[in-house]
């Protein structure tokens, strides 16, 4: 399944903030984590991720630091800032609202029905 470009663009920031709230991470690992969490369906491209990371850093929602990796190379890690945590909660609030609206309109029910139709 492919996620629409617009939907990716809209969700990449909260996903990144959420991910970085759980653990400090770096570009390569972030892409891997997203792939894992989406059961291998969602492959973020580097060309999208790094610009977004840098933009979030400019906004001071996340901050970066260099750390020596096990590989012996210097690696750039990102972590959430206090400002970023606030932003995360603000955005999650909105997502919850969207999700709640979808639920009210029978979102779970709909997708279940579709599934059943296909299985028949």
């Amino acid at each position: 399944m492919r996620i629409d470009k617009e939907l990716t663009a809209a969700s990449v920031v909260p996903l990144l903030l959420l991910l970085l709230e759980q653990e400090e991470s770096y570009g390569y690992r972030i892409i891997k984590r997203i792939r894992e969490c989406s059961q291998g369906h969602w492959q973020w491209s580097e060309g999208m991720l790094y610009p977004v990371l840098h933009r979030l850093e400019q906004r001071k929602w996340i901050e970066s630091f260099w750390h020596m990796a096990e590989s012996g190379r210097r690696r750039k890690y990102y972590r959430l800032t206090a400002l970023g945590r606030k932003e995360l909660h603000r955005q999650l609030e909105q997502w919850r609202m969207i999700y709640g609206t979808l639920s009210q309109l029978g979102f779970e029910h709909q997708s279940q029905e579709k599934q059943d139709e296909r299985e028949e």
Binding site: Y26, G27, Y28, E46, G47, Y50, H54, R55, S71, R73
Partner: protein, 457 residues
């Protein structure tokens, strides 16, 4: 292992491409490199050979162009900000760049102060006889060149014989320009004024290359540097002119008689500071302007080609004599100089691995058109020399004309050979390096010896 070295080389090339095309900082590059290597490690663990892993990892990261387009959207401010505030993360590096900034400002002030030394001898720019103006015009480059030469010495630390040679060139130029008893408003003084900056620029070029001045690579680096220096100077000077125009207009609006003061202290000092700042920027920020300059060349090469084809058609079809006006020879010199400059600049920024393409055909056409025009001009002037003899201006212009023509012809031959795959680009580049000493000798002749030959007329 040989292939390991190849792979490291590939990674270096990839980084270099990223670095040259975008305003990426060293940190950004390292971040991307780390990503590339992580990807490679995982692919290798999955059973791929190192080389295959590299290819796929590069493919995943996307073409440098795509990455750059995305990254520079975020950092479009950085492209300009980076000029003065590099994105170093460590405090030490930040301190280093601050110190550099202070040094550049001091150097610019030093050049401005050098320009004030003649005041101690009572030579003023606003001297009503106009003699002062002529003096400053002739010596303009002498206020700047010592500062630049010192700067390059601190950057490069070259050997004593080279220092002696550079100092000698500077000293002879300074002495001849100021001890010769030029007649007021003389042609030879004007010629010295026009040629001295070029002569000193070549001397600075030797300092730029340092003890490597024999290497083709270093000489071409300087060629590219010259183009970038020129562009930076024009940009800064344009800003300076806007500033001066506004300042003068405000002074006038307020009824303050400040025009002379502004011209002598702000305008003149600024004028001397421009090349210092431009030289620094062109040296330190080479990857930035590299985006702009080849594009400028690509815009203007076709335009100049059109102009010259129109000229050739007018001369051949209408039978117009190109040499009717005595200023034409100078015009042609300027045209040839621009053509040589643009072609050299384009060559210096060229990817050596790229095959002969449409842009090269344009370059070649431009050179051939310039050669044809120059031949017309020379034919025209040959007929007149017998009648009017050699005036100082004509001698100087003719010398340059012949030099530029020889240079263009040499380049064109090298280019054609390269197009026919009979010679390498490397050979073409090395042809050009052989011409520079001739320019140096001719310019030195015009500045040091011609005034003597013509009795300072």
């Amino acid at each position: 292992m040989g292939s390991d070295i190849d792979i490291e080389q590939e990674i270096t090339n990839w980084k270099q491409a990223l670095k040259e095309q975008a305003g990426l900082s060293a940190d950004d590059l390292q971040e991307l490199e780390d990503h590339l290597r992580d990807q490679m490690d995982e692919l290798e663990r999955g059973g791929l050979a190192k080389r295959e892993a590299l290819l796929i990892a590069m493919l995943r990261l996307g073409q440098p162009q795509n990455l750059i387009a995305e990254l520079s959207k975020v950092h479009s401010d950085r492209l300009w900000k980076q000029l003065f505030a590099p994105s170093h993360t460590t405090a030490q590096a930040a301190g280093h760049s601050r110190r550099e900034l202070v040094q550049v400002i001091l150097a610019a002030v030093l050049a401005a102060l050098l320009g004030k030394i003649p005041l101690l001898f009572g030579i003023s720019l606003s001297d009503p006889t106009g003699g002062g103006e002529e003096f400053y015009f002739r010596n303009l480059s002498l206020f700047v060149a010592p500062v630049l030469l010192c700067g390059f010495y601190f950057w490069r630390r070259f050997s004593t014989p080279l220092v002696a040679w550079l100092a000698g060139m500077l000293l002879i130029t300074a002495l001849t320009a100021n001890l010769y008893p030029f007649q007021p408003g003389s042609n030879t003084s004007g010629l010295v004024a026009l040629h001295m900056p070029l002569l000193l620029w070549l001397v600075i070029g030797v300092a730029y290359c340092g003890d490597d001045w024999r290497s083709t690579r270093a000489v071409w680096d300087f060629t590219r540097y010259s183009g970038e220096f020129f562009i930076y100077s024009v940009l800064i000077a344009a800003g300076g002119m806007v500033f001066m125009a506004l300042a003068t207009a405000f002074a006038e609006a307020l009824g303050i008689q400040a025009e002379n003061f502004l011209m002598e202290w702000v305008g003149f000092s600024g004028l001397l500071g421009v090349p210092i700042v431009a030289a620094y920027l062109a040296e330190k920020k080479r990857s930035l302007i590299a985006n702009m300059a080849p594009m400028l060349a690509k815009i203007f090469i076709p335009l100049f080609l059109l102009l010259m084809v129109a000229l050739i058609l007018t001369i051949t079809v209408l039978g117009q004599d190109l040499m009717q006006d005595r200023n034409t020879l100078i015009l042609i010199d300027i045209l040839l100089m621009l053509v040589v400059g643009m072609v050299l600049y384009d060559l210096s920024a060229r990817d050596e691995a790229a095959p002969f393409g449409p842009a090269d055909t344009l370059n070649l056409a431009l050179m051939l058109a310039a050669i044809i025009i120059d031949c017309y001009a020379l034919a025209g002037i040959a007929g007149r020399l017998g009648l009017y003899g050699f005036s100082p201006n004509k001698t100087a212009a003719l010398g340059e004309n012949i030099l530029l023509l020889a240079n263009l012809a040499g380049l064109a031959v090298g280019y054609i050979k390269y197009a026919l795959r009979q010679g390498s680009l490397q050979h073409l580049l090395s042809i050009q390096t052989r011409f520079w000493p001739f320019y140096l000798v001719w310019l030195a002749f015009v500045v040091w010896i011609m005034p003597l030959l013509y009795n300072f007329r």
